[in-house]
Every structure is written in structure tokens, then in C-alpha cells.
Symmetry: C2
Subunit: 158 residues, 2 copies
């Protein structure tokens, strides 16, 4: 029998799946069957996050968004996703990737329109003061008493 | 026929392989059959690097090293590598990962002791003033007129 890996090595299956979303409804439900394992956090990394994401049929990676200050990168490990950006749609299969430099305002997300789960790595820097912009949806983040809270674009809180 | 992906999406096979090493001999040769595709750079990212690395049988990812200021993460995509750290050796197969927080001084590298190529993603933050420490080898980086140059640990340049 193999010995379990010990840090700094890590078997992703040993990291708990998280299915929560910080979005309010009706956006949260739109994510569908989305489970993340926070691999970077599990290894003690602080400068960037690395999530192993399993996205079921019909699921979305996030609302279509653009980061103001954080670079982001995704690498598809299995299955097939549709990348949506300002430039339109592209199908990404296993072994394909995408990179989103901070500040371009070109918003992006994945939708799984296939009939099978897809899996990918998402990597993003952690930069104080970063914001996410949502060109397609009536959502923005505003400063609340306990951190950022979701609001309509006219400022009303969700 | 499929249309080629366009940025922000990227087909890694469209990125040129790089086989160079910044190490002096005798260290450079020790890397063996190692080819990197700089995916993050190809996407215009600046805050972290993402390399898709193919490591042939007998090859090494790097000299065993520890970064002073940069977090690093690796995810094995195919094949089998041996991770060497201060805590000893562990075999990592496809789907396994490892994370190296900045400043721990626990040095790490991969060796491919299998008979087949291995492939992995390596991700590292870019932090000004970062240094790499090499506990096993008579190598360090010192300030030269045109950036960092390799020196013996007594200061003599290679």
C-alpha cells in the first residue's frame, strides 16, 4: 500500500470540496454543480490561489467578470468548457488554457454546455484592493461593515 | 476543421519550447531533457509565471532550491516524478501536486527516475528581490553588471 503524500506534496483528493458561492441569488444558483478544492491554501500558499474545480453539466465557473488588479490563469484538465469573453465564445478541451491579465476589463467565465463534468485548475494572484467587474449582470461589490458585500449597480444591497 | 484558439485562450502546442537554462556547468547538463512552454507569458501575465514542462527520463526540474520571497506550485499532468525536499523523497504521479510557500528554506526539485517523459505545470509568483538558495550545490546568485550572475559559495564567479 502506498503511503499518503505529506506536505509540501499533496493529493488533491485529500482536500475537502467546497460548493459555496459568495454571490447573492439569483446568481448563486446559476453556478450549478460546481465544486472547488483549494489546493494552494492547503499547501500554505498566500500569494496566489490554486483551485481544482469540477464543473458539472450546465454549471458556470463564475459570473462573467474581469479583475482590476489580479492576473488569472486557467488550465483545462478534463472535459470541455465554453469560454465566454468580450470577443465571443471558444470551446476549450483538456490541455487547453487561458490567461487573463489584470486590468484589461475583458470579462470572462466558463460554461459547461457539454453533457459531462469538466475539470480545470484556476490560479489567481491575491492583490489587496482588487475588484471584480460584471458587465452582464446587475452586481457589484461595495464596502460593508464586515468586508465586501454584493449590491445592485444603483447601490442597493442584495 | 477547428479554428485555432485566440487570446485570452491559448493552445499550449502553439507556444515554442525553450530548453535553455541559466545555470552554469556542471549544473546545466544535470537538467537533462527538459523543455518548457511559457504559457503565462504567452497570455500576457506578469504577476506569476506558468510553465508547461516536459521532463524526459533522467531529467531534473531545477537544482534543489528554495525561494526567499516567491510562492511556487506544481501540478503533475502525466508520468511520474520524484519530489526531493529536506524531508526526503516522494513519488508524484499524474493528478498530484505540491506547494512551496516563500521563505520556508525547505528546498525542492523533481527528478524523473522513470523510463518515460513526465509533464507538469509549474507556477511561481514574480517578486522583486527574490533569491533562490541551493543547499546541495556550490552555487548562488550575486549581483553582476547586467543582473544576477552565478557564483560559487565563496564568491568566485562561474
Amino acid at each position: 500500500m502506498e503511503k499518503p503524500l505529506r506536505l509540501p506534496a499533496l493529493d488533491p483528493s485529500s482536500v475537502a470540496e467546497q460548493r459555496r458561492s459568495s454571490y447573492p441569488e439569483p446568481f448563486r444558483s446559476r453556478m450549478g454543480d460546481r465544486a472547488k478544492r483549494k489546493l494552494g491554501d492547503a499547501c500554505g500558499l498566500t500569494q496566489f490561489g490554486v483551485n481544482l474545480v469540477t464543473l458539472g453539466s450546465g454549471g458556470q465557473s463564475a459570473l462573467r467578470h474581469a479583475h482590476t488588479l489580479e492576473d488569472e490563469f486557467v488550465y483545462v484538465l478534463a472535459g470541455e468548457v465554453v469560454l465566454v469573453t468580450d470577443g465571443g465564445e471558444q470551446v476549450l478541451t483538456a490541455g487547453m488554457c487561458a490567461g487573463y491579465p489584470a486590468g484589461t476589463q475583458d470579462a470572462h467565465h466558463f460554461i459547461n454546455r457539454s453533457g459531462a463534468p469538466a475539470q480545470y485548475l484556476e490560479i489567481g494572484t491575491r492583490v489587496a484592493g482588487d475588484d471584480a467587474l460584471y458587465p452582464d449582470d446587475d452586481m457589484m461589490w461595495v464596502d460593508g461593515e464586515q468586508g465586501k458585500v454584493a449590491a445592485h449597480k444603483d447601490g442597493r444591497r442584495y
